[in-house]
């Protein structure tokens, strides 16, 4: 079988499988990014809190999720999640061992890891918002909710975008690790294709190229978004 036949989209080729797997990788990373944004903004709020205890909690989260290998975290959620679900099942009189859906486990694991990095991004963005603008909002009598909605969020978003681009790329690459728990994403699909055709080199190269396309395209997209949100900003004189 030659290369074109192997990669074709027909019955004999692996093209369709790889394309579906790439979509799965994108979906997984997107889900992880959303979970990460939710948890990450909470962690960032904790880190910026006035109370020392809450600050310590936020810091502990960062240390844990940035210091423990991603693979271990994934194992924890996969095996641990299965034990917990099985226990609950037994509680209600169920039998045997219940598996948890790998997509859910993967999205949560990669999401929580991404949250620890996103928290830093949001914290930095919050600090970058000029204090004078918040004081001005306070001075004209904006309520707390309005200050957050009209002054903080639009600016944090703008400052956080470059950092979010990096976190996205990182999560995209972390999502490859979900292949170990059997979710058929790009890495797993390349593995399966490589194993059944015995063309390991070819299919890992193809898988790698797919990842390069994904990271390249999404990097482009983030650059576009950055220049879009920055078009109303004054140009930094140091960069001109």
């Amino acid at each position: 079988m030659n290369l074109l036949q192997m990669l074709s989209f027909g019955d004999t080729g692996w093209g369709m499988a790889l394309l579906k797997a790439a979509a799965m990788t994108l979906l997984l990373t997107l889900a992880a990014l959303l979970i990460g944004a939710l948890v990450g903004s909470l962690v960032a709020t904790a880190k910026l809190s006035r109370r020392r205890g809450v600050r310590y909690l936020g810091d502990a989260y960062s240390i844990l999720f940035r210091g423990i290998p991603e693979l271990l975290v994934i194992y924890l959620f996969y095996f641990g999640g299965a034990s917990v679900v099985s226990a609950i099942n037994h509680w209600f009189g169920g039998q045997g061992y219940v598996d948890v859906p790998p997509f859910l486990v993967g999205a949560i694991a990669v999401g929580l890891i991404s949250a620890s990095y996103q928290a830093e991004v949001y914290r930095g963005a919050f600090i970058a918002v000029a204090k004078g603008e918040l004081e001005a909002a306070l001075a004209i009598g904006m309520s707390r909710g309005m200050r957050i909605r009209r002054v903080l969020i639009p600016q944090i978003w703008r400052y956080a975008l470059p950092g979010l681009g990096n976190v996205w790329q990182m999560s995209l690459k972390d999502s490859a690790l979900i292949s170990v728990i059997g979710l058929v994403e790009l890495m797993r699909a390349s593995q399966v294709a490589a194993g059944s055709t015995r063309q390991y080199f070819t299919f890992y190269i193809v898988g790698g190229v797919c990842y390069l396309i994904l990271t390249g395209l999404s990097g482009r997209l983030f650059n576009l978004a950055e220049s879009r949100v920055q078009r109303t900003q004054r140009r930094n004189p140091a960069q001109s």
Binding site: P69, K173, Y200, Y204, G208, Y211
Partner: protein
């Protein structure tokens, strides 16, 4: 409630795999650093036929997951008789060798960018001053550019070192019995996820803490001139200028 005997037993088993993790880390750190020096030297070259391959290398290794790079080297390269017959096979026939090679190549891509960032932070005036006093390019590199670059790049490099410690866990997927590999084995045998996870996580956290402290110590040693003078230490008396008669 807490089964201390099991915890101690697990910890001992995991610590038994610690040397593998440590040697994986140090050998790929050193190899990666050497490789990255070559890559960055090419990257900042003014000739395109040197800088383009370096750009390509960096894009390749930063744009794809480490896992696929490792599998490509471990499963993919062994498929070619030419490689099995060459001297490379001495390294690539063992999972451990493949893991070190892929870790080193991947970290070199990231480290090259960190060093490049450090290089760009060297003030242009300092280089011109060096040239003005007649330093040759090597002296200039050794005395002016390298020390400033090193100091600038260290904080980012400590992050990269931690990422490398975490990346060594992937070696367990090409059948190297490192801490993560052993932990996964114990989990699958006993299904006591939480206990095993806590032990393994503790080992990695301590390891990362030590890495951070070590880099911070190096940084401290490299920047005595930026620190405040300790109180109570007498400063050298400044010799009074002799008035011209």
């Amino acid at each position: 409630m807490i089964d201390f005997a099991f915890l101690a037993d697990t910890m001992l088993k995991l610590l038994g795999a610690l040397p593998t993790t440590l040697t994986l880390f140090f050998s790929s750190l050193v190899l990666g650093l050497l490789l990255s020096l070559g890559v960055v030297a090419m990257r900042v070259s003014r000739w395109w036929f040197l800088s383009m391959p370096a750009r390509f290398y960096i894009m390749l290794f930063r744009g794809t997951p480490l896992l696929i790079q490792m599998f490509l080297i471990y499963y993919g390269l062994g498929q070619f008789p030419a490689i099995r017959d060459s001297f490379l096979w001495v390294v690539l026939k063992s999972p451990y060798g493949c893991a070190v090679v892929s870790l080193a190549m991947c970290t070199a891509g990231y480290t090259a960018e960190i060093i490049r960032g450090g290089l760009q932070s060297v003030p242009h005036g300092q280089i011109e001053a060096g040239q003005a006093v007649g330093m040759n390019p090597w002296t200039l590199l050794w005395r002016v550019i390298a020390p400033v670059t090193l100091r600038q790049a260290l904080p980012a490099y400590s992050t990269e070192a931690i990422l490398l410690v975490k990346s060594t866990a992937l070696a367990s997927l090409v059948t190297v019995w490192d801490v993560t590999g052993v932990a996964q084995q114990i989990i699958q045998r006993t299904y006591r996820t939480m206990e095993v996870f806590i032990c393994a996580a503790l080992i990695y956290l301590v390891l990362n803490f030590l890495v951070v402290r070590a880099v911070a110590w190096i940084e401290h040693r490299l920047s005595p001139h930026l620190r405040e003078r300790p109180q109570g230490v007498p400063t050298k008396p400044v010799p009074e200028a002799t008035p011209h008669s």
